[in-house]
Amino acid sequence: MDFDWTDEQKILRETIREFAEAEIAPEVLEHEREGKFPRALVQRMWEELGLGGMLAPEEFGGFDLDPVSYAVVIEELARVWPALAIIVSVHNSVSVQLLNLHGTEAQKRRYLPDLISRQIGAFSLSEPGAGSDVAALRATAVRDGDHYVLNGEKNWITNGLTADLYVIFAKTDSSAGNRGISAFIVERNSPGLVVAPPERKMGIKASEAASLVLQDCRVPAENLLEKEGAGFKIAMKELDGGRIGVGAQAVGICQAALQRAADYAKERNAFGRPIAEFQAIQWMLAEMAARLEAARTLVYRAAWLRARGLSHSREASIAKLYASEAATFITHRAIQIHGGYGFTEDYQVERFYRDARVTEIYEGTSEIQRLVIARDWLREHGYRSR
């Protein structure tokens, strides 16, 4: 057993950390205040660091990183800017990697090189009336000659306003529940694709949660991924990877908040000594540190299983559930340790607190994670739950 990262992974962490502190940190406040997508910065990260195709093969311009290294990158980005971490995570996992694993050679050759080198990808599953319950999707895709015609409304699309390419899920068979869902590659400039402005959110403001309206949106039939009805399986499989990404994002948030809280506790004096000397503060820090390490261990375990090609659905859910709840807990305590200053923008822990909250919601709510865990656990014990 070995819980350490390889030398390469350590160098990667160092590289991303240096870039994040020097180049990313100065951009955060302005973009978060205004909810502005950091298009230029993302472009630089794709070009200078190759972060646009971390998991993709080199033949398409990717970096061919293993999932553990990938988690290292997401964690380090989230330490400085959680919104940027999810922008990068969504692009890499449920866009580039989804196409890489489920696309045909022709689809990959057509879309991956641009997507990896200079474009931004998005994943569109949720609808106003269908979140956790994917079977309730109402968007439809109807075959019409060599096209599919898509109609419906989609929302909560990270990178949604800026994206150049979408993977959109719609029903090709409305009577078949999950098995009637299909996945399509849809270009930004497709006729009938209308992008609505993003939601105004509590946190991760620079990442867009946009909506789409599909009005007789015509998509070439060759842009269907795999086959009709395969959409649900594709989504669930890649969401496992996405959950590791969100888990790593949550770990980065935990690390940032703990570090800030520990530093502040050493500097701030009350009753004649640094507050770090009070057990009330030490207890909070100890709990925060233990939960952070547990979260990190679980996230990298899921990533390690994925890297080995071993089954990791339950483990990804465990990692995401634990890490996201740890992030909310730790950022909450970080504010508490900062007192009134924690409630101001200047100390930034309030930003991490707001950002942390969404990790319990997107890429499968904590409730969905519990459902996955419980069902899988019961199945292992010979019981198929309803």
Partner: protein, 379 residues
């Protein structure tokens, strides 16, 4: 990075599971009920080399990794938590410091028979008035020729009534606080040693926990473990390892409670279907699975850090803090899933619930673990 047991560790786990399920589990309720010390279990563990798992083969141990120890400890504790703590004390609190701090002669005389399981050890640090604060020790050793004379009382001594060898922490310089503490290896049959009655504890009732008093007990100076005044260092180095053992014991208790809750939930019907179909129950199972996994990997991480040879105080404290809480929480939920049946002794979760609590207290309370974690973090 490697999150898997190696072949040898897998074999140890399988062996421990088989022994525990076949031999220990069927008698665990009886041991709990009567409070009898499970001698047969200890003999079986000794046959496999599990009483000195991490001790090198040179000294009669099995020479295994701390990872293997964690795996075996979880399996044993899952069947019988009393047997788990007996094994943990002998391995972590007795054999480990003897190998680390003992002289060749001490190892020959004591470690060999303790690691092989021929003799059983106990660790005597706590006193009626000195628990978390070891500097409050009142037991003393006064030099007298080539011997020391020990006087005082130790309590909450696991294996206390049956142990053959005692590691006793006491004051050789009462004015010096922690720096006045020394550690002695004491044969339990030395005149002047008296063992009190077994404590009537809430859980781990087979652990033979009692008070041991020392009245003018003469011990040769050559039985000093480590230098005089360095006993506190010995105790702390030892406890870091002990915490990994107790974390693993807690994992076993939690895993047992979760298994029982899982099985019951699929068998018990309410509202027309097994209660495993209800989200209220599924949520409890999912949270228990998650907390157990978090605790398990922190424990293995601490074990890997110990095997790596560096410092591992923080890792061990995090593992024990998290695993002991998981044991208490998971056992609590397991009782809840069982409803009224969880409150009666015919169902094992009632015992798990009682056994779990001590893991938050002994070998450093959760409060001490938080102190260790915070201090290292703030350094």
């Amino acid at each position: 990075m490697d999150y898997a047991l190696n072949d040898e560790e897998r074999l140890i786990l399988a062996t421990a599971r088989e022994l525990a399920e076949k031999e220990f589990a069927p008698r665990a309720a009886e041991i709990d009920e009567t409070g009898a010390f499970p001698r047969e279990n200890v003999a079986k563990l000794a046959e496999l080399g599990f009483m000195g798992m991490m001790t090198s083969e040179t000294w009669g141990g099995a020479g295994l990794s701390t990872i293997a120890y964690v795996a075996a400890m979880e399996a044993v504790s899952r069947a019988c938590a009393s047997t788990g703590v007996i094994m943990s004390v002998n391995n972590s609190l007795v054999c480990d410091p003897l190998e680390k701090f003992g002289t060749e002669e001490q190892k020959e005389r004591y470690l060999r028979s303790l690691a092989s399981g021929e003799r059983l050890g106990a660790y005597c640090l706590t006193e009626p008035q000195a628990g978390s604060d070891a500097s409050r020790q009142k037991t003393t050793a006064v030099p007298d020729g080539d011997a020391y004379v020990i006087n005082g009382t130790k309590n909450f001594i696991t294996n206390g009534q049956v142990a053959d060898v005692l590691l006793v922490y006491l004051m050789t310089d009462p004015a010096a606080g922690n720096r006045g503490i020394s550690c002695f290896i004491v044969d339990a049959d030395t005149p002047g040693i008296e063992r009190g009655r077994k404590e009537n504890t809430m859980g781990i009732r087979g652990s033979s926990t009692c008070t041991i008093s020392f009245t003018d007990v003469r011990v040769p100076a050559s039985n000093l473990l480590g230098a005089p005044g360095k006993g506190f260092n010995v105790a702390l180095a030892t406890l870091d390892g002990g915490r990994i053992g107790i974390a693993a014991q807690a994992l076993g208790i939690a895993a047992h409670a979760l298994e029982e809750a899982t099985r019951y939930s699929t068998e018990r019907e309410s509202f027309g279907a097994p209660i495993a179909d209800l989200q209220a129950i599924q949520w409890m199972l999912a949270d228990s699975v998650t907390e157990l996994e978090a605790a398990r990997w922190l424990t293995y991480r601490a074990a890997a850090a110990k095997d790596g040879g560096g410092r591992f105080s923080t890792e061990a404290a995090m593992a024990k803090l998290t695993a002991s809480r998981a044991a208490v929480t998971v056992a609590d939920r397991a009782v809840q899933v069982h409803g009224g049946y969880g409150y009666v002794k015919e169902y094992a979760v009632e015992r798990c619930y009682r056994d779990a609590k001590i893991t938050e207290i002994y070998e450093g309370t959760s409060e001490i673990q938080r102190m260790v974690i915070a201090r290292n973090l703030l350094k």
